[in-house]
Point group: D2
Chain length 290, copies 4
């Protein structure tokens, strides 16, 4: 089917490629004329036959501005899809604004990263039944080939919500492996840590795609010497813990994973300065001064 | 090759079956005459040609007693293999005692649970090169068919150590999924939680065998109504955190997973009684009295 | 000086008493005519000479409604004080609305609970210098007698912010004692746990008012048998962790304290059901079914 | 009464001073002849009238060696007191060895640090009733003047156990303050963080001696610029968490405090390297390379 794609970066560009390879007619727009098929959003919408479907794949910070710019160019029956990393709570207000103009809105949480073009993208979709149904040809092509990898998770917002929780879980999983990895290294009971991790890829309870990737990273750099102990975090981990707080869900594991990333970016943590200062105060313990 | 197997329970029995199906000659002994091939350990050793290899697969609590009973029946050049869930720190003393008699000792961490008979068992092996080499025909049959699932992790103790860390990681992974699952249920943003979890099995960053099993459990019982919120723990999770403490490894995630299991088994936690009592003391907050 | 007090519950009523005992002229209003000095907010403001100072001490959920009802009755130069448990982020919008009418706004975080009437209330104040100065006679009376217990913490919102962090710390402190208390009970190495806790009240590094209260609680009920292991939480603990997430502050201790309260109120935690179900799936471990 | 004191460092020396100031006859021995009253342990015991009481106040690592050296010089009816930071599990074996020679053993957990000489030392005592009673004159002098600060916590080992839990709680308390302090600094909602902390010293729920010391540290160095974010830990924090694991006590708060100290001493944490490497693998996220 025909699809407008706004944003042709690493994710949007690969998704457009995968769709075209399957015979879909994708008209792509990007700020960067070098990768864009059309010169403007106006030209994009002019090149799509109503009722249009336009997939927005831009950084979460500019999604609303993009939708605002796009809206006057759309008409009744069109559908806007947000496949970016928006906070789920942004979806309902957007859907409501667009519904007032007869325009549909569907949110899609997309997983798969740089591997999605080949393996397919896992899709978590939120929206009205009728809108989701119209987009199924697109979803069928983007998703992986097996029986899993797609879910209509609920009404508008449910797609981003499911993706947010997915990412929260991802934080916890990664950190569980990371802690085990560090213990293996420090205890020195095991003589070849990368080999142990590689062996875990089959037959164990903890086999997973993340473990495959950890093995791959260690194949490329056995001591991870080219990687600093510094981890960014994106919104989803934070939002997951915020939602846990809102719904009174004990979430020590995912929260600890998030906090460990925060700590990895601190140079001179005030909390630990306070601990050291207190130890000096009551016990006369020496402090490091640098 | 020929192998003596001591302990023919769920694990030992299945492993013996897998070995026999591949043509190995396994003589099994179990306390329970209904499943045992021989009447005693003496008969077991008498039925094996020296140099013997004897795999012990009994509950960790009786491993040492079993080895003590077995030792006088063994001779120089024999090898004892402990495939049970011993604490790694028990391995070196055993190996030393046996080495004094010219008997070898190999420790094997075995993963795979009830699925191992069909899929193969992941094996993490600790011991001397010569002993491990002699046992390779057994290991080759027990391990999964792919290129992973076996590692000679280091000297005596390294096998159980690797398995211990494997299980510690397992605690963290399981709890990450569990926290995400609980948030999905409580937030009610997603209308069909089991469907979302099923969809994650392909294309996502968090796909894994444990996720497959969670989906399987939800297929069998969508609300997990037949399962109480009560989780046992076995030694490995505790030992992993103890080792983290010993080696100064920050391990919030795995420790929190362990503590959550402890808490699940508490009826009236004194700590929370203390919190409630304190709130009443300073704020006059009402307490629940039951 | 003259002060209007809106809300004469446990906190507001005691504060009015403390102020009157020091010679201030307090006119109090409460919905409950039995404790109110005047029949309405209109009568309250009519009984105060401009420029008025009106202290609002109502549940956080009705603070905005109370201010809205009060505003038309006020005039330029008046000051509204919110001494309740508002989220700090509500303060700036209120201050702005009132400033448009020439009315000042001051937020005060109040600590001291049921003990404040006698011992004084610790006050953390946010607002403009000129407003805070005008209210100093009130603050001087409410605060404890010593040199501490009062701070002008910063501009509008800073008072509630400081109080929020105070309460977050309180969660962590309480839980540290609670964990130690539980370990003493369960390990049974110490034969008289309440006596040990009592002894800690002097000379130790961990002596504190909360410890005094724990001792008091144990004096009244040595086994805390009349108190259920069930702990409520109020907004401040949650907001503290939300702020930590916003500002990338690692906050494992306070977050864990909050999560433990959440867990104390769960009957059948879905997360632990998931753990038990997973153990059954991979290991054939029995589950409790009830 | 007469007391032998072995070890005249910061703790032992101050305690000897406090005892002498109250009229006790203390004979002190230290390896350092500059501070020792006698030239050897033999001279020490020779200078004490049987039945002797000898208080050992040496680093935990040399306590057993000291006792071994001392034992042949002692006789039936003598009492050895260990006031150092021994692991509680060392006490029972020592007591048993000494009991075979008719020598008593008492373990004392001592809190108070460098402030103890003036304020008194909190004492947590383990041992037999008759031995504790004989030592009461010493304990009465060492303890603070008020009604608290001394407890006979139970049989041999109970003193060190109570002190161990005390220190575990101390870790949690310190970290709760530290987290709140860091949030205040980073959020910048409060304009003068040290003033806020100072104000908390009276009237608040969180007032404590540790808070007094934090204020003191900030008075001396308002930005804690002379203190590195680097915190040592001593055995007690680790032992407390080990005991929690043994007795299945959920201990997220104290464990997190301990782990934060571990992390403060890591330069390039392998766990965070693994997280960064994984993010690069699945998402193509850039890593810091240094």
């Amino acid at each position: 089917m025909q699809l407008g794609m706004v944003g042709l970066g690493r994710m949007g560009g690969n998704m457009a490629d995968r769709l075209r390879a399957a015979g879909h007619n994708v008209v792509g727009y990007d700020r960067d004329p070098a990768v864009s098929n059309v010169a403007s959003l106006a030209e994009l919408t002019a090149n799509l036959e109503p009722p249009r479907a336009i997939w927005i794949m831009v950084p979460a910070g500019v999604t609303d501005a993009t939708i605002d710019e796009l809206t006057p160019l759309l008409g009744e029956g069109d559908i806007v899809i947000d496949g970016g990393n928006s906070r789920f709570s942004d979806d309902a207000p957007r859907a409501q604004r667009l519904a007032g103009l007869g325009i549909g809105y569907v949110d899609v949480g997309v997983s798969g990263g740089i591997w999605g073009r080949e393996n397919g993208y896992a899709l978590m979709v939120g929206g009205a039944e009728e809108h989701v149904e119209r987009l199924m040809p697109i979803f069928e092509t983007l998703k992986p080939e097996g029986e899993f990898g797609f879910v209509h998770a609920g009404p508008v917002g449910a797609g981003h919500y499911a993706k947010m929780v997915h990412n929260g879980i991802e934080y916890g999983l990664m950190h569980a492996y990371a802690e085990g990895y560090e213990l293996l290294l420090k205890s020195e009971q095991v003589t070849n840590v990368p080999q142990v991790i590689k062996s875990w890829r089959e037959g164990t309870v903890i086999r997973s795609w993340l473990l495959d990737l950890l093995d791959r990273a260690l194949d490329q750099d056995p001591g991870l010497e080219g990687v600093a102990a510094y981890a960014e975090d994106t919104g989803e981990g934070r939002w997951t813990v915020e939602e846990a707080i809102k719904h009174a869900v004990p979430m020590n594991v995912i929260a600890a994973s998030l906090f460990a990333r925060f700590a990895s970016r601190e140079d001179e943590a005030p909390s630990l300065k306070a601990i050291a200062a207190l130890r000096q105060q009551f016990g006369g313990h020496a402090v490091k001064t640098d």
